[in-house]
Symmetry: C2
Subunit: 251 residues, 2 copies
């Protein structure tokens, strides 16, 4: 019988700049009796990663440009936040009430360029997205390989508000060691007919599954281990998960 | 330590019209040594539900309207399929190459009105969405309650292609016994600051987590049990998960 386990990594310290996330997670997982194993998928929130990488900005030190002031007035947001959103953006996708949706420098379409105000120490500090979330994931993966000998997959996750659907879900913004899209075109269905359109974004589904334990404890759990899920390894970037503008009927 | 398990319900028969899905799943779960328990979340694919409810249409028996012929020519699809898509639709949201996105009678925004050509016997048969997916979920929930005494939550799932992101993920189109959106506004974060925007669509995350086992076995697994996840019960409809047009910057 096929069982997939989603295991919370508990009792991690609050991450700070310079921390080795891979090491801290390995230690915490070991301590709670669930050391990382070959084939595990480790999901880590981007805020945890950005804190360890020092990718934090103090809004008091930000001088808004004229463009930021203009947009801030239009959407009703703090001009300093808008300035940071614009600095992190490659392109504005939509403007709405209290909302700026951009494509970030990392190639992710996100509200407020993925900037997070929660779970960051100091109420004028915000966490940016990691500079290169795939690299962040690869670094953790490599540490785990060197330290335990195990090949795992790593996903850096972010919460993601959606067109069409209410509420946020977690998605993958950085990946290492896993093929994020499972292409099932050509496989056969229950009755032997060939599937023609099915391509499943397992990286996003894994990020969402991880949120089932990450979201439960007052924001105190930044990582989860998913065990028992079979996947293909690959070097594909999470950038491939953003729908190209030309192929997006909603952009 | 918080662990959530996603358990495949294996060795289910191919569902046919008139089957009692609740009973068949209870029996299969019992047989494999994982009987349903109090607090479980049971996720069932909509194709399985529609087959048991007889919600199948044979395309050879469909006469396309003029409008269906027109749209079929425009998007390059089988006119009979387009006719069924239009019959199931309340409104067309987008037309694109080989793609019709509608809001269905059930209030779900879906490609091709959620009609499925795979995993349905006979290559001219298609499965529609269940007429009332919440009711389908409630019926299963009630059967389980009566038969085992356990209160569970039930989610009817569908694969869902997305604006902005590549690949499909599973979402909840029918729910029973679970509050689908976890509203975290007012809760405190790691450092005691109050969360202002967080609302997590746990119903969709649970549907995606279930797909980790449902999607693995050549389409042979139409149901999964999620065990160990704490949620609030409610009578809220899955219709609440569709973003209202007025609140959707992408419609």
């Amino acid at each position: 019988m096929d069982v997939v386990k989603v295991i919370a990594v508990e009792n991690l310290p609050l991450f700070k700049k310079g921390d080795n996330i891979g090491r801290l997670i390995c230690e915490a997982a070991e301590k709670q009796g669930t050391p990382l194993q070959e084939g595990d998928v480790l999901v880590v929130t981007h805020v945890a990663v950005s804190k360890a990488e020092g990718n934090i900005v103090n809004l008091n030190e930000v001088t808004p440009s004229n463009r930021a002031l203009e947009i801030a007035a239009k959407v009703g947001k703090d001009p300093a936040i808008v300035e940071v959103v614009l600095r992190e953006a490659k392109e504005i996708v939509r403007l709405g009430p209290n909302s700026i949706i951009t494509e970030t420098k990392q190639g992710i379409v996100a509200a407020n360029s993925g900037i997070d105000q929660s779970n960051v120490e100091g109420n004028r500090n915000v966490a940016l997205l990691p500079v290169d979330p795939d690299l962040s994931a690869r670094n953790i993966r490599q540490y785990v390989k060197e330290s335990t000998g195990c090949n795992i997959a790593v996903i850096v996750s972010d919460t993601h508000g959606r067109p069409l659907r209410m509420g946020e879900i977690n998605i993958a913004i950085g990946i290492a060691g896993i093929l994020p899209l499972r292409d099932r075109r050509g496989e056969k269905d229950l009755y032997g007919y060939v599937l023609r359109v099915k391509q499943t974004c397992i990286a996003d589904e894994l990020a969402s599954a991880a949120e089932l334990v990450i979201g439960q404890a007052n924001e105190g759990i930044p990582a989860a281990i998913i065990r028992g899920y079979k996947y293909q390894t690959s070097e594909v970037s999470a950038r491939k998960l953003t729908r190209q503008k030309e192929r997006d009927m909603f952009r």
